[in-house]
Amino acid sequence: MLDISLVFCGSAGQGLQTIEYILTQLIKKAGYYTFATKEYMSRIHGGSNSSEIRISDHIVSAFVSRIDMLILLSTDTFPHLVDRVSPDTVIVGACHDLSSPNKKYMIDFEKIALEIGSKRYTNSVVMGFILAFLKIEASFYEPFFTQYYGAKSKELAEKNIVAAQIGYKAGVAFLNTNSISFYAKPSVDLNHKILLNGSEALALGAIAGGCNFIAAYPMSPSTGVLTQLASLSHEFDIVVEQAEDEIAAINMGLGAWYAGGRALVTTSGGGFALMCESLSLSGMTETPMVINLAQRPGPATGLPTRTEQGDLNLALFAGHGEFPRVILAPGTIDQAFSLMQKAFYLADKYQIPVIVLSDQFFVDSYFVSQPLDALSMAIYDQHIVKTDATYQRYQLTADGISPRGIPGFGDGLVCVDSDEHTEAGYITEDFEVRTKMVQKRLKKFELLQTEIAVPDFFGKKDYKTLIVCWGSNYFVIKEALDLLPHAEIGCLHFSQVYPLSREIIPYFTRAQKTIVIENNATGQLAQLLKQQLNVHINATLLKYNGLPFTVEEIVIALKKYTQDHENG
């Protein structure tokens, strides 16, 4: 069984991101499953960053601690990863100063690049070197290089191809002299599968949801969605505006929705905090809104380029006053796409804010996925009406939803107000009207119950231990369970975290033990489950150092929990 974990380590500016981008595409195209995730420092030059690329003959979509081969692009980046290096780890590259007992192979990639003309070709030398291990030859990889670098300049493409060829030769020479190889003939046809990172899937899902306007203020790790939509803005009639701040971004979004657009804002915790008053405005004016909240560790600036699931409570309680909202938390490419599409549908139909909670690990990682069904939802069933002269924006209806008119479509006037308002949308302090309007807004919660899908379940159906997780922890737990085939464990993964459905309570009552696994320090989903469903949680497994869980960590923890079971 092929399952290799390569880790590339270098400093910012050495082109790790390009290695990740090009290699994963080539690996997948050649017929191997792949997965890539990066961890990087908040700086544009220097420091120590790494990127893990997994190559396998079966689906792999999670972060592993194990390093089979460590490829060092610079000498001083090793200490950063020393905890993950085992005696079996093979180290290649800039390792001449290392005193570790591992098998080490000094290859000065940078020197090779300099001989070609510049150290900026180092990453292409490295790529060529690795491609030799997989026997992915020039005729196969050159078109990728041409396409990637050719957009910038022909010369750049040519030089990088030369660098890759020299790297490839170095790789072949290395394989001929050393008994190290991880070649396995590719056994699967992955042409019908797709390779995307979380940001891309969210952006494509937004387009599938009819998104035609994005306003945002750049903030890691949420900027990827903005960049993706900008790159597709000409093909799909999307207006892109970089706002002066997050408050402007969400207010532009609300203005656009009010006038018939379908807007997305993308931000991270700090930016979302600035949007809180406007989230409340969305609730009060019943103007739809879709927000991608890509989490990173806080409080305040926290660890700007790292990952955490620390903003569930923020998303839950943001905004003053009482109004309905939906919070979605995709953990797979398929979920990211379909839930972002659904976010537009829910926001539009129920005239509420919908928050999609992602995180740095998810948005920056590349996954192989089933193709996405762009046509699965009738999104152009726009929930707007042509108004007549008697139109009232907040007409009281049995289900709390008033037909939503937009200015310029019909003979009516569309009046929305952040003050408490009459059915016509005008300011009022009439207590009876106030009571009715509060009830009208909150009634939507009942209807939303019918839209909230139950969580995904995987693992043993007759489980004794129930693992509960949400968002980006989907695959790491799935892979850990695959490695524990005899464990009596089931897992419930929430991709829609609010509102919760009472239908899931039996999952908890059947369990002897329930453990919630989250990337935060306080167990925010565990708290929510207790508060909303009154279910019993025995333990939480929490990680909050800024890195995602590894498969190994989950396996060790689950072994311990299940042993505790057997020991009574």
């Binding site: 306007f213 402007a248 203005g255 657009g261 004016t285 200015p407």
Partner: protein, 285 residues
């Protein structure tokens, strides 16, 4: 008989003090719209919080009465979604220059085709008499007990310094000229600032009708609106405050520069993505 049958509203409870300058501004806007044959269904008035932002409650128009300080980004979003609508962002000096000051700067930069009407009475009305960003030095309030010590914000000078495409000031003591200025702002393509001096009869006992009458004058007929430097020098005059259109230039608006609006002005709600194209794009990933 109604003066502006399309716009006038009857049986409304107006929250302004009798004698407030807001009444004159409301009338000037309605008159300007009538004279330009604009219909209520073509107009969106976006406002924030305060006394001035209540204006769209008192005449027939589409209305987005949002948060304090945030009318400009909402107005920007409305115009982006449907450039065929006439969009007015309206509020007071605290709303537009205090809470929303950052949006003021950046809306100028965008030059989106909206009219920005600011009721400038140099005091906070709805919160009962505190200083505003435009209050003059020495203005005493229950908070600024020894008088304001910070320099007042000069919106006209800021707008000209930022090369806004239309910058004007009016005084509501002269409704005819205020109406003409609003008309010119509506007809201007691009961002248009109309700062309107108005007394607050309840909380500002300094900047009264009499004060404005004595301290303002109209820019001379030979004032060259295209000359930014001369406009700026007029904007920083202090002894007597000029009224009229200080500066105007012709430049493409924000929405006109958007790729999607270069072919047609079809609003966003009438456009639909080609999902077949999306499907193909995904399959290539």
């Amino acid at each position: 008989m109604a003066k502006h049958p399309l716009f006038d509203k009857t049986n409304i409870d107006i929250a302004w003090c009798p004698g407030c300058g807001n009444f004159g501004i409301l009338e000037s806007i309605k008159q300007a719209l009538d004279e330009l044959s604009i219909k209520p269904t073509q107009l969106v008035v976006v406002s924030g919080i305060g006394q001035a932002p209540k204006t769209p409650h008192y005449f027939n128009t589409h209305m987005f009465n949002g948060l304090h300080g945030r009318a400009l980004p909402v107005a920007t979003g409305v115009k982006i979604a449907n450039p065929n609508l006439l969009v007015i962002a309206e509020g007071g000096d605290g709303d537009m220059y205090g809470e929303g000051g950052n949006h003021f700067l950046h809306t100028i930069r965008r030059n989106i085709n909206i009219v920005h009407i600011v009721h400038n009475n140099m005091v906070y009305g709805l919160t009962k008499g505190q200083a505003s960003p435009t209050s003059e030095i020495g203005f005493k309030t229950s908070i600024q007990t020894e008088g304001v010590i910070a320099e007042p914000l000069n919106p006209i000078a800021i707008a000209i310094a930022q090369d806004a495409s239309f910058v004007a000031r009016a005084y509501i003591g002269d409704m005819e000229k205020t109406k003409d200025t609003i008309k010119a702002a509506i007809q201007h393509e691009g961002y248009a600032l109309v700062d309107i001096f108005q007394p607050c009869i309840a909380f500002n006992k300094v900047n009264t009708y009499q004060w404005f009458k004595e301290r303002t004058y109209y820019l001379p007929s030979d004032h060259n609106r295209a000359d930014r430097v001369s406009a700026f020098s007029k904007a920083i005059e202090k002894d007597k405050l000029p009224l009229g259109i200080f500066y105007q230039k012709k430049v493409d608006s924000f929405e006109k520069k958007q790729k999607i609006y270069q072919v047609s002005w079809e609003p966003l709600y009438q456009r639909h993505h080609d999902l077949g194209k999306l499907k193909k794009l995904i399959e290539e990933k």
